[in-house]
């Protein structure tokens, strides 16, 4: 993490002119209407902290921040809230003793999610569990809610699992080769949404890319980075850098992973042996939609007659400022109608580990988003982050609506391969 001198921090905090422009896009302000749970209020708390105010009453408000970065997009004064909150979270982890129960859960989550082998280990039992009819029973009983809202959220959010196909280490370009790209498969994406990775690889190959999918890749460190676990994040970053140093471009289809890889330069800025390498990998990291849009269409687009709603994942729209590219890709598919979701800037509540640690707020935000998605009348929800799709589909299910979900790559895949709507709905 970048070493911040107290003066730097003062300056970063001083950039906030207290105008409030960030408030209406902050999900927690939208929910509760309280200053302490708004970006302006959180920045104020950070400033108080600099003056020596106690951390304890603030922790809750920092924890409740989703890290969605809508405030960064909204801020006319250029406040770098992303940097501010990352440092603050690290400080909270260092200085704030958490109650035992919370500690155990946090450890469990951080020991499970970033590790594919461990995730894979829970897939089997989870799949059996899902097919057994037990889920309805467990949910009705509320037993998990009583033990822990976090565990209950994990249960609700687990996607229905199909078999996870293994991807080859290399997929050859169709037609003339236009580029050689590395592909990050992501922990959650890889284990729970294997279809997305397969579609990503196919689209890239059909558009003329040799796709390299290193088998030994690990977690990119996104979860740790966005939760204040700086050391852990740095370790994950180093390993990921080694894996991908040799390719020209790293294509990432999970928004959260892409945004953290683009931050590698900051993550390892203080490590002289790694700073340059980190900056190099960060500079060649591209989101899937960003890259395919940049490349330009070559393969033929076949019609997909369907109505879709496109959801802006925060880590794509706010953290990476990628909004037009996926829309352009979708608009390029014949017979596909794209609907806009109202209040697109407001987070769905998924936000990395947020729906695990702040299940109530996450559920409220999920419900809001589900309402606006439903209002579009779309039959398919397209999003570029596995967490968002899970979150919104779960919320819609709670409201009694089932909606199909797909990643932008899957919609494009269906079009390039001429599979029509049947492949998606």
């Amino acid at each position: 993490m970048v070493a911040e001198t107290p003066r730097d921090r003062q300056n970063l905090l001083g950039d906030c002119v207290h105008c409030g422009f960030c408030l209406p896009t902050c999900p927690t302000y939208v929910l509760w209407g309280e200053e302490m749970d708004s970006p302006r209020g959180r920045i104020h708390l950070m400033a108080q902290r600099e003056e020596g105010a106690p951390l304890a009453p603030m922790v809750q408000h920092f924890d409740q921040c989703l890290g969605c970065m809508a405030c960064v997009t909204a801020c006319p004064s250029g406040v770098q809230y992303d940097r501010l909150i990352e440092t603050t979270r690290a400080e909270v982890e260092d200085e704030h003793p958490r109650p035992l129960r919370e500690r155990v859960l946090r450890e469990a989550v951080f020991r499970l999610f970033p590790y594919r082998r461990r995730l894979r280990a829970v897939r089997g039992p989870l799949r059996l569990y899902q097919r057994s009819g037990l889920p309805a029973l467990v949910r009705r009983s509320g037993v998990l809610e009583r033990i822990s809202p976090t565990l209950a959220a994990m249960e609700r959010l687990a996607p229905p699992l199909g078999p996870a196909p293994r991807l080859p280490e290399r997929v050859a370009a169709r037609g003339g080769r236009r580029a050689t790209v590395g592909m990050l498969t992501g922990c959650v994406q890889g284990e729970f949404f294997p279809g997305v990775n397969a579609a990503t690889a196919r689209v890239l190959a059909l558009e003329g890319c040799d796709v390299v999918i290193p088998r030994d890749q690990g977690c990119c460190g996104a979860l740790s980075l966005h939760s204040g676990r700086a050391e852990e994040a740095a370790a994950f970053a180093r390993a990921t850098i080694e894996t991908f140093e040799s390719v020209d471009v790293v294509v990432v289809n999970a928004a959260g992973c892409g945004s953290s890889m683009k931050e590698y330069a900051d993550v390892l800025a203080d490590d002289p042996a790694w700073a340059r390498r980190a900056a190099a990998v960060a500079a060649k990291t591209r989101d899937f939609a960003e890259f395919v849009d940049e490349l330009g269409p070559r393969a033929e687009r076949h019609p997909v007659p369907a109505t879709v709603a496109y959801h802006d994942a925060c880590h794509l729209s706010h953290a990476q400022r990628i909004r037009s590219q996926p829309r352009r890709l979708l608009a390029g598919i014949p017979e596909l109608t794209v609907r806009e979701i109202a209040d697109p800037d407001v987070c769905c509540g998924s936000a990395g580990t947020y729906n695990l640690f702040q299940p109530e707020a996450a559920a409220q935000l999920g419900d809001r988003k589900a309402g606006t998605v439903r209002a579009t009348g779309a039959e398919l929800l397209v999003a570029a982050n596995p967490g968002c799709s899970l979150q919104i589909a779960t919320a819609l299910r709670r409201q009694g609506t089932d909606i199909a979900v797909a990643h932008t790559a899957q919609v494009l895949d269906a079009s390039l391969r001429g599979l029509g709507r049947a492949a998606l709905l």
Partner: protein, 483 residues
């Protein structure tokens, strides 16, 4: 022994629920200022009511304890109107944000005070209507705040201020009664209430007028070498009988800030830009638009850009609307000034501001609603530098003197609040101020409702104003009675 604030905290928690009461010092401090950060005071207590009844109950509880209270909407005010009292309660409306009724046939909507200005327009837009007052802060400021400040915006030149778009207010009076202003014959109490800066009561429901979205809107951006030639264009346009929806001007420093913040792409090297927007029926707009374009060129515009579509228009406006906050990019700190001058005095006053700036070494960026002579000089300083804030304050005050000297006003739309209370005597005589305070006493005899704002020296109701010797001339002549 428990203090009156402790008792109030318990009472409010019982009335509104514990979630709606904030008493912890760290949390309280996040409410210590509004958009004017140079004045700070942590409130004694914050409450977040969700209904008019709850507001009334809190006000009654305050009255019973003799504790002062202040209303707050979104806290974007620029005159410290929502500055809390350390010994009082801050009543925040951010949870009263329901749009209660949309009545398209009668062109009105009823909203709670915490509803965000822009949300009103968003809600009625599908019907072809919008809420006309458009302060630059419209994405977050509350309608209740707009009513209290009688806020305006770029389009006030043609459409007027908030006062012209509010037809009724439900108000919790300082004795805790819920009354409705603005209906029926009699004195125009609504007219008194709008713009009273929260000193006469708290509005809990607002009926706003909706305006039809014009058939056509056309916007141009004209770049000039200097503020003077921009000013000439403004006079020429108004002189030609055109009433644009908006004429906004920014000087070089303001352009630099906006460019750094939002990359609005204004013409390079401009000493001033003018944004002119015309709206109305197609034919009329087309005709006048050509006229405006020509007048700009005649006045010396070296580039005129016409927005081709909504996206381009939005880009032109983003630069202007983000200008205040954007100044944060070119200066560690700044003061936003708000003054009014007759439009014709524009070039003269601007030259004087320039001279002030040169003499003091304090940089001043200028943004203004040029059509109605409302200036927003942004006085820049570095808060880390000793004495800089005081110098900036001095320049800022001198600018207000210029406004008064030219027959203008010390505020156009941001209000008096705490910030300008001390400038009131520069515009008004002691008698004027006393008369205003008597109106205030009519609403708030105990002086608990947002005290310390607007007036330089508070008076108790019934107190005989002390500045005058002998009876008021009108009283002496038997033409008026003192009560």
């Amino acid at each position: 022994m428990s203090t009156s604030l402790d008792r109030l905290a318990a009472r409010c928690a019982a009335l509104l629920g514990p979630d709606a009461v904030i008493g912890d010092p760290v949390r309280l401090r996040t409410y210590e200022c509004d958009g004017l950060t140079t004045h700070r005071a942590a409130p004694g207590l914050v409450v977040l009511p969700e209904s008019a009844d709850q507001v009334a109950a809190v006000v009654r509880a305050c009255a019973a304890e003799g504790v002062p209270y202040v209303a707050r909407g979104s806290g974007t005010g620029l005159s410290g109107g929502a500055l809390p009292r350390t010994d009082g309660v801050l009543i925040v409306t951010s949870r009263m944000r329901r749009i209660l009724e949309i009545d398209i046939p009668n062109q009105r909507a009823v909203v709670e005070p915490g509803v965000i200005n822009l949300d009103v327009s968003k809600a009625v837009r599908p019907h072809g209507y919008y809420f006309a007052p458009d302060p630059s802060s419209q994405q977050i400021c509350s309608v209740g705040g707009n009513v209290a400040e009688n806020s305006g915006g770029a389009h006030c030149l043609k459409y007027g201020f908030t006062a012209h778009h509010v037809t009724a207010c439900e108000v919790v009076t300082p004795d805790g009664e819920i009354v409705k202003l603005g209906e029926g014959p009699g004195y125009d109490l609504l007219g008194v209430f709008v713009g009273a800066e929260g000193t006469l009561g708290i509005t809990t429901k607002i009926t706003v007028r909706l305006t039809r979205v014009p058939e056509t809107v056309r916007t141009l951006l004209a770049a000039f070498d200097s503020i003077e030639s921009g000013g000439t264009a403004v006079s020429a346009i108004i002189g030609a009988g055109v009433v644009p929806a908006a004429i906004e001007m920014m000087d070089a420093l303001a352009i630099e800030a906006a460019e750094a913040a939002v990359g609005c792409g204004y013409p390079a090297g401009a000493g001033a830009v003018l944004i002119v927007e015309l709206d109305g029926p197609d034919g009329e707009v087309a005709h006048q638009f050509d006229q405006v374009e020509r007048l700009c060129r005649d006045a010396g515009a070296f580039e005129v850009r016409v927005a081709a579509d909504d996206a381009e228009r939005a880009l032109i406006w983003t630069g202007r609307k983000s200008a205040f906050a954007a100044v944060g990019r070119i200066s560690p700190a700044y003061l936003v000034q708000d003054g009014v001058i007759p439009r014709t005095a524009l070039p003269g006053v601007l030259a004087r501001i320039d001279a002030l700036s040169a003499a003091s070494g304090v940089r001043v960026a200028n943004v203004f609603h040029a059509g109605d002579g409302n200036l927003h000089p942004l006085v820049l300083f570095d808060d880390a530098e000793e004495g800089a804030a005081e110098r900036a304050e001095e320049v800022s005050g001198a600018i207000l003197d210029l406004c008064v000297e030219h027959g203008g006003s010390i505020t156009g739309e941001h209000g008096v609040g705490v910030d300008k209370a001390r400038y009131m005597p520069r515009m008004f005589t002691a008698e004027d101020l006393d008369t205003m305070q008597m109106v205030r006493c009519g609403f708030d005899p105990t002086g608990l409702c947002n005290p310390g704002k607007v007036f330089p020296t508070p008076r108790l109701c019934g107190e005989v104003p002390g500045v005058r010797k002998g009876p008021h001339p009108l009283v002496a002549e038997g033409k008026a009675e003192l009560f």
